[in-house]
C-alpha cells in the first residue's frame, strides 16, 4: 500500500517557494557550506555592480541569486513533501478496537487511544490491543504471529506468565490486561517525531561527502584567486564578476544543493512503504547489507501450518487415524488443530457435535510434554511432535515403517505430528507449511543483489533444507534459539558482513539489537521494537527487500549526482576559460563556438542554476536500483551520470547560448 504524494501540487509548491525565499537568509544556510559560498559569491558580485554596472553584469548577478534560490527550493520541496507524506500516514493508519474496562464497564476505544495503566478485556478470538500484564484470568494465547511458535501459550495472572504482547490473539477464556506500553498511534507519533528530528541530521556518509565538497570549494577559491593574481602578472584584465561566475560554476553547487533533499526524500520513500526508520543512517546501512536473516514463520510461510495428509501405519487405516486425530484436536483451538479437524471432516465427514463422548477430559498442550490430546474412558489419544511422542512410547514400539514417512514429510518441507492411541502408534499427520506466493522472484532478486539469505527456524534441518531449496534461500539455521541467532549474527559480522534481520518476538530482541539493520514488525513486542532500527507498520517481513533497495537507491542517488556535478565542470571550463582568457591568444580558443565572451559566461551561470531544477525530481525520486552485479550497475551509472555529466552541459550551455544570443 503505497501512498504517494504528487510532486505537482500547487499549494505544496507555493509553500516550498516561500520556504526557499526565507532560506535566502544566510544564517539558515550554515548547514550547507557550498550554498553559503554561492550566497557569498552572489553578494560579492552584487557589490561589484557598484563599481562597474552593465546589463550583462546585472544578468549574471540575478542568475547567481536565482542559483541560491533554486538550491533552497530543492531542499524546501523535499521537506514539504515529507511533511505531506507523514500527514497522510497518520490519517491512513487503521487501528485495532480495544475493549477498555472502566468503572466495571466496558467501552470500545481504538487501541491507539489506550494509555499506560488502562485495563482492557480480551476474550477468545480477540486481538490483544497493546502490550501489558495479565491482572486476572488464565487463557491460551496464539503468539505465532510474533514468536513463530505455532503452539499456543498459557498466560495467567501471577509472576512468570503474566506478560502479553500487542498483536497476539486470545484463543480461549478471558483475560483482564493492564496496559504497560503505549501502542498504535501514540507509538507511531513518537516514531514520526523521531523521523522529523533525524531528517535534520547528516548521516556519516553525507558528512564525508560534505567534506569533499567543502575541500573542492576551498581549492577552487585558491585556484580562482590565483587566476586573478596570475592574470595581473601577465597583464590580462579579468573582471571580478567573471571570476565570481567561474567560481560559482565550478564549485559543486548541484550536488551541494541537492544533498539534503536526497536524504529527506530517501527517508520519505521508506515511509511510502510504511516503514519508519529511527535514523537516516539505518537506511544507508540497509543498502550495505550483505546477509539477511529472517524467521521462517511470517516471512516464508504464512503464520500457521495446515494438516495436509494422514499417513497411517499398519494395522490402522487412514480413517482410524483421522478419527483419532479428529478427537485429539477437538479442544485444540490452534490453527493447526483446526486444520486437522477440517481435513478429517473433509475426507470422512466427521461431525464434532455427533461424537458421543462422555467424561472426556482434554489434555492441553504444554511446553514440557509438547503433546495434547483427549482422555475418555478406555481411550487415551495423544498427538504431538514425533520426538515428543517417541519419548512417551517405549523405544521398540515406534514402528520402523513410519521413519521413512517422517523423513519424506520433512524433505517436502512439512512437519510430521505423530498420533498415539492407548500407547499404540496410529500414524502421522503431515502438517504442511503454506509458502507465500511470489517469494521465489524476491529471493532471486536478493541473490542477484549479492545478498546472502539465511532462514531461521525452529524446525528440524530436513524440513528447513526442503523449504530453502524450494524458495531459493541461500542458507538456513535449523533448530534456532535466541542464543544461536545471536551467535550467527556475530559470526557473520566478524567476517565483515553487514547483517539485516527481521523479527518481532521478544526473544529476537538481542539478535535485532546486534544486527546492523533490524526491521521489526509493528505487531512485535515492545522489546523487539526498541531493539530494531526500523519498524514496519504493515507487518510484512518480506518488505526488508524494499528497505534494502531504498537504502541502495539513496546511496546511488547521492553518488550519481556527485559524479554528474563534478563531470559538469569540464564543459564549464571549456565555456568560461576561453571567454576569460581569449584575448591572450592569437587564435580562437573557444572550442564550443559560443556567441561571445559575455554570453558564454552568462550561459554557464544560467545552466548552473537550471540544472539544479532539472535534477530536483531525480533527487526526490531517487535513482532506481536494479538487481544486477555491481560491476554492471557501476558501468551503467557511470555511462549515464559520468559520461552524461560531461556531455549534458556542452549541449545545455550551447543551447542556452543560442537562446541568449537570439532572444535576449
Amino acid at each position: 500500500m503505497k501512498s504517494k504524494v504528487s510532486v505537482l501540487n500547487a499549494s505544496l509548491l507555493r509553500k516550498a517557494t516561500f520556504e526557499a525565499l526565507l532560506a535566502l537568509n544566510p544564517l539558515r544556510l550554515t548547514n550547507n557550506p557550498v550554498i553559503l559560498c554561492t550566497w557569498l559569491g552572489a553578494l560579492i558580485a552584487t557589490a561589484s555592480l557598484a563599481w562597474h554596472f552593465s546589463v550583462f553584469e546585472l544578468q549574471v548577478v540575478l542568475w547567481l541569486w536565482i542559483t541560491v534560490f533554486f538550491a533552497n527550493l530543492a531542499e524546501s520541496l523535499a521537506t514539504c513533501l515529507g511533511k505531506a507524506q507523514v500527514e497522510s500516514l497518520r490519517r491512513s493508519k487503521i487501528s485495532v478496537v480495544a475493549r477498555r474496562f472502566v468503572n466495571n464497564r466496558e467501552e470500545h476505544v481504538p487501541a491507539n487511544a489506550l494509555n499506560v495503566g488502562d485495563i482492557v478485556v480480551c476474550e477468545a478470538g480477540d486481538y490483544i490491543p497493546a502490550d501489558g500484564d495479565v491482572v486476572e484470568g488464565i487463557a491460551s494465547v496464539d503468539e505465532s504471529a510474533i514468536t513463530g511458535e505455532s503452539a499456543p501459550v498459557i498466560r495467567e495472572s501471577g509472576e512468570d506468565r503474566s506478560s502479553v504482547t500487542g498483536g497476539t490473539r486470545v484463543l480461549s477464556d478471558r483475560l483482564l490486561i493492564r496496559v504497560t506500553f503505549e501502542s498504535g498511534q501514540s507509538f507511531l507519533n513518537r516514531m514520526i517525531s523521531l523521523i522529523e528530528s533525524t531528517k535534520r541530521h547528516k548521516t556519516p556518509n553525507e558528512q564525508a561527502l560534505s567534506m569533499l565538497l567543502i575541500a573542492l570549494t576551498v581549492v577552487l577559491i585558491v585556484s580562482v584567486f590565483s587566476i586573478y593574481v596570475f592574470a595581473q602578472y601577465i597583464g590580462l584584465k579579468i573582471s571580478i564578476i567573471s571570476l565570481v561566475a567561474l567560481w560559482i560554476c565550478l564549485i559543486p553547487t548541484t550536488i551541494g544543493s541537492l544533498l539534503i533533499a536526497i536524504r529527506i526524500a530517501g527517508m520519505d520513500r521508506l515511509l511510502q512503504f510504511n516503514v519508519v526508520a529511527k535514523n537516516g543512517q539505518a537506511i544507508e546501512t540497509a543498502g550495505n547489507t550483505s546477509i539477511l536473516l529472517f524467521d521462517k514463520t511470517g516471512t516464508i510461510t504464512l503464520g500457521n501450518r495446515m494438516a495436509a495428509e494422514f499417513i497411517p501405519c499398519k494395522p490402522h487405516s487412514t480413517k482410524e487415524l483421522a478419527h483419532a486425530a479428529f478427537l485429539a484436536s477437538l479442544a485444540d483451538e490452534t490453527a493447526e488443530g483446526r486444520s486437522i479437524m477440517a481435513l478429517a471432516k473433509e475426507h470422512y465427514q466427521f461431525d464434532e457435535n455427533s461424537q458421543s463422548i462422555v467424561d472426556a477430559r482434554f489434555v492441553a498442550f504444554s511446553a514440557s510434554t509438547r503433546v495434547s490430546g483427549i482422555d475418555f474412558p478406555g481411550n487415551c489419544i495423544r498427538k504431538g511432535a514425533v520426538d515428543a511422542i517417541k519419548a512417551q512410547t517405549k523405544k521398540d514400539q515406534f514402528p520402523q515403517e513410519l521413519e521413512q514417512c517422517i523423513t519424506n514429510v520433512c524433505q517436502q518441507g512439512g512437519t510430521p505430528l505423530a498420533v498415539i492411541k492407548n500407547n499404540e502408534v496410529m500414524g502421522i499427520i503431515y502438517l504442511k507449511d503454506i509458502i507465500k506466493t511470489g517469494l521465489k522472484e524476491r529471493f532471486s532478486k536478493l541473490y542477484q543483489m549479492g545478498i546472502k539469505t539465511v532462514m531461521m527456524t525452529g524446525d528440524n534441518p530436513l524440513t528447513a533444507a526442503a523449504i530453502t531449496a524450494e524458495v531459493g534461500i541461500s542458507d538456513f539455521m535449523a533448530e534456532a534459539t535466541p542464543e544461536t541467532k545471536l551467535l550467527e549474527i556475530k559470526r557473520a559480522q566478524h567476517q565483515g558482513h553487514l547483517v539485516a534481520m527481521t523479527g518481532d518476538g521478544t526473544n529476537d530482541a538481542p539478535a535485532l539489537a546486534q544486527s546492523d539493520v533490524g526491521l521489526v514488525m509493528s505487531s512485535g513486542t515492545q522489546e523487539a521494537r526498541e531493539a530494531g532500527y526500523m519498524i514496519d507498520l504493515d507487518n510484512d517481513p518480506s518488505k526488508i527487500l524494499d528497505v534494502i533497495t531504498t537504502g541502495k537507491e539513496l546511496l546511488m542517488t547521492r553518488g550519481a549526482l556527485t559524479t554528474f556535478s563534478l563531470a559538469n565542470d569540464v564543459a564549464k571550463y571549456f565555456a568560461i576559460l576561453p571567454a576569460m582568457f581569449g584575448s591572450l591568444f592569437a587564435f580562437n580558443i573557444d572550442l564550443m563556438g559560443l556567441g561571445s565572451a559575455q554570453s558564454a559566461i552568462l550561459s554557464s551561470v544560467i545552466y548552473n542554476a537550471l540544472i539544479i531544477v532539472f535534477l530536483t525530481p531525480l533527487a526526490l525520486k531517487g535513482v532506481s536500483y536494479k538487481a544486477l552485479p555491481s560491476r554492471i550497475v557501476l558501468r551503467n551509472n557511470m555511462l549515464i551520470y559520468g559520461l552524461g555529466g560531461i556531455v549534458a552541459p556542452f549541449v545545455g550551455i550551447k543551447l542556452i547560448d543560442y537562446l541568449v544570443r537570439h532572444w535576449v
Binding site: 567534506m211 546511496l555 591572450l584 557501476l634
Partner: protein, 528 residues
C-alpha cells in the same frame, strides 16, 4: 618519428612491464621475510626494537631520521671546505635532498668536496626513497590488516629498502655506467691540454655511484650540475635508456609489490597500467611538441630525439627531477606536460613509495565518489572510506596543490619581473612536488627565497607523508567488510584516471592556460 624509435619505445615499455612484476615479487619477499640472525644482530647492536609500531611511533621514528638527516647534512654543508655555504642555503640544500627533491641550488662539482658528495648527498639518495617506501609499506599494511593497532616497524622497513633493494641495484647500475664511460674515482680534477693546445679542466670524482642511486632512488641529485646531460654521468645513448628505465623501475615495481601484498596481483596491474597510460599519453603530447619545434637546442646528440625527452619525462612523472636536456629550450607544450605531471602530485610512477601512496589516495577518493553508485557505502578493498579517512585523503591531495598555487601567486604579487609566469609555476610545482626539476636554471639567491622554498619542500613532503601514516593507522584498526566494489578492473582504472584528471584539472587548468599554453600558442604563431 622513425619506425626505429617506435620499436625502441615499445621495447622499453615491454621491458618495464616484464621486469617490474619480478622486482615487485622480490620486494614482497624482502619486506616480509622473517628477520634472520644477522639482521637481528644489527638491530640488537643498534638497540632498536623490531616490534610493530602504532602510527604515532612509526611517524616519530620516521621524523627522527628526517631530523637527524637535516642536522647532519647542514653540518656537513657548513663544514664543507670547497666553498662557503650560508646557513639558509645549507637549510635549503639539506631539505632538498632529505625530501627527495634534490633541487640543487649550487653546482655540486665546483662547490662540494667528494667527501661531502658521498657522505651527505649519496647517503640521502638512499635514505629519502627508503623513507617514502616505508610510508607506503605502512599504508599497505593499513589496508590489508584488520583490527590492528600497529602498522609495522619503521626501522625494519627502512633498513630493508636500503640494504636489500637499493644497494644491490645501485651497485649493478653504477658498474654498468662505469663500463660505458661514467667516471668513478677519487681524484679531484684533471687539467689537460687539448688537441689545439688549450687548457681544459676535467672534473673527476665518484660520479657513477651517485648517478646510479640518484636515478634508482628518485632523488635525482646529480653529481654534476648538468646532471644527466653531462657526458661523465650519462656517456652514451644506451646509458640514457638504462637510466630512464632505472628512474621508473622501483616505482613501477612497487605497484606490483602492492598487488601481491594485498593478495590481488590484478590490483597491482591496474595501478601500473593507469600510470603507464598516463605516461604514454603525456609523452606522446610532449613528443608532438618537440617534433613541431624540431630543434637540437639544449639537447645532447648521443641521446637522440626520443631518448632526450624520455628522461625529462620519466623524471617529472616520477619525483626524480633529474634532467638530461635544457627544459627551457623545449616546446612550451612539452614542458607544460612535464609541469602538469608534477602538479598531478607525481603519481605517474612517482617517487619511491610516495608515487604509489599518492595513487592509492586517489584510488580511495575514486572509490568514495564512484563507490556510492553501486548502492553501497564506499569501501576500498573492504575498508570503509568515511569522514575520518576522507579528511586525511583530501588534506594530502589538496594541500600541496594549494601551496603551489598560493606560492606562485605570492611570487607574482611580490613581482619578480625577470621570470615568466610559467617559470614561476614550474619551479613551485617542482619544489612542492619534491621533484627538483628546474626550468631555465631557475636559481634563487636571496636567503628569504632559500627559506621559502625550503619550507615549500617540507610542506610538500610532510603534508602527504604524515596524513598517509595517520591513514595507515586508522585503516589498520578498522574491521574489514565484505568487498563488493572491484578495484581490479579496467573500468576502475578508467575511473581513477578521470578522477585524477578532474581533481587536478580543476585546480591547475587555468594556470596552465595562462602560463605555458599561452606561451605555446605564441610559439605556434611564431612557427607559422
Amino acid at each position: 618519428m622513425h619506425l626505429y624509435d617506435f620499436y625502441l619505445g615499445a621495447g622499453f615499455i615491454g621491458l618495464l612491464a616484464t621486469s617490474s612484476p619480478l622486482l615487485g615479487a622480490y620486494m614482497h619477499f624482502s619486506f616480509n621475510r622473517s628477520i634472520g640472525p644477522a639482521e637481528a644482530r644489527l638491530y640488537r647492536i643498534s638497540q632498536l626494537s623490531t616490534a610493530p609500531m602504532s602510527w604515532k611511533q612509526y611517524l616519530k621514528a620516521l621524523l627522527s631520521i628526517q631530523l637527524m638527516s637535516l642536522i647532519f647534512m647542514m653540518a656537513i654543508f657548513l663544514l664543507n671546505s670547497k666553498a662557503p655555504i650560508s646557513l639558509d642555503l645549507a637549510f635549503n640544500l639539506a631539505t632538498s635532498f632529505i625530501t627527495n627533491t634534490a633541487w640543487q641550488n649550487i653546482p655540486g662539482e665546483s662547490h662540494l668536496s667528494h667527501f661531502s658528495q658521498m657522505i651527505a648527498i649519496t647517503t640521502q639518495n638512499f635514505m629519502a626513497p627508503a623513507v617514502g617506501t616505508a610510508a607506503l609499506l605502512a599504508l599497505t599494511r593499513g589496508i590489508f590488516q584488520t583490527d590492528s593497532e600497529t602498522i609495522g616497524n619503521f626501522w625494519v622497513d627502512f633498513f630493508r629498502m636500503i640494504v636489500f633493494i637499493l644497494l644491490p641495484l645501485s651497485l649493478l647500475l653504477a658498474l654498468f655506467l662505469v663500463s660505458q664511460g661514467s667516471i668513478q674515482n677519487l681524484a679531484s680534477t684533471l687539467e689537460i691540454s687539448t688537441l689545439e693546445g688549450a687548457k681544459q679542466i676535467l672534473p673527476m670524482g665518484p660520479a657513477a655511484s651517485q648517478t646510479a642511486i640518484a636515478a634508482l632512488g628518485g632523488n635525482g641529485a646529480g653529481f654534476f650540475s648538468q646532471n644527466l646531460a653531462h657526458p661523465f654521468a650519462n656517456p652514451t645513448g644506451l646509458t640514457n635508456w638504462v637510466l630512464a628505465f632505472s628512474v621508473m623501475l622501483i616505482p613501477a615495481s612497487l605497484a606490483h609489490y602492492y598487488g601481491i601484498q594485498i593478495g590481488s596481483k590484478k590490483v597491482g596491474w591496474v595501478l601500473f597500467s593507469v600510470m603507464l597510460c598516463f605516461f604514454i599519453a603525456f609523452f606522446a603530447i610532449s613528443f608532438l611538441g618537440t617534433q613541431q619545434l624540431n630543434s637540437l637546442e639544449g639537447q645532447e646528440i648521443r641521446f637522440g630525439n626520443l631518448g632526450s625527452l624520455l628522461i625529462a619525462h620519466a623524471a617529472t612523472a616520477t619525483a626524480n627531477g633529474t634532467m638530461n636536456i635544457a627544459p627551457e629550450s623545449l616546446s612550451p607544450l612539452s614542458s607544460a606536460v612535464m609541469m602538469f605531471q608534477m602538479m598531478l602530485g607525481e603519481i605517474i610512477f612517482g617517487g619511491s613509495g610516495t608515487g604509489l601512496y599518492g595513487l592509492l589516495l586517489f584510488s580511495m577518493l575514486t572509490v568514495f565518489i564512484a563507490g556510492l553508485m553501486i548502492g553501497r557505502d564506499p569501501e576500498y578493498l573492504g575498508k570503509k572510506i568515511q569522514s575520518a579517512e576522507l579528511k586525511w585523503i583530501l588534506f594530502a591531495l589538496m594541500l600541496p596543490s594549494c601551496v603551489t598555487l598560493l606560492g606562485s601567486a605570492y611570487t607574482c604579487w611580490v613581482g619578480s619581473t625577470d621570470k615568466t609566469l610559467f617559470e614561476i609555476l614550474y619551479n613551485f610545482a617542482s619544489n612542492v612536488g619534491t621533484n627538483g626539476s628546474a626550468l631555465s636554471g631557475f636559481k634563487f639567491d636571496s636567503s628569504s627565497d632559500n627559506i621559502m622554498f625550503g619550507v615549500a619542500m617540507w610542506v610538500g613532503r610532510l603534508s602527504t607523508l604524515i596524513p598517509v601514516l595517520i591513514l595507515a593507522g586508522i585503516l589498520s584498526s578498522k574491521k574489514r567488510i565484505e568487498s563488493i566494489f572491484e578495484v581490479s578492473t579496467p573500468l576502475f582504472g578508467l575511473l581513477l584516471t578521470f578522477v585524477i584528471l578532474m581533481i587536478n584539472g580543476l585546480t591547475f587548468l587555468p594556470s596552465l592556460l595562462l602560463g605555458p599554453l599561452n606561451e605555446y600558442a605564441s610559439l605556434l604563431e611564431k612557427l607559422s
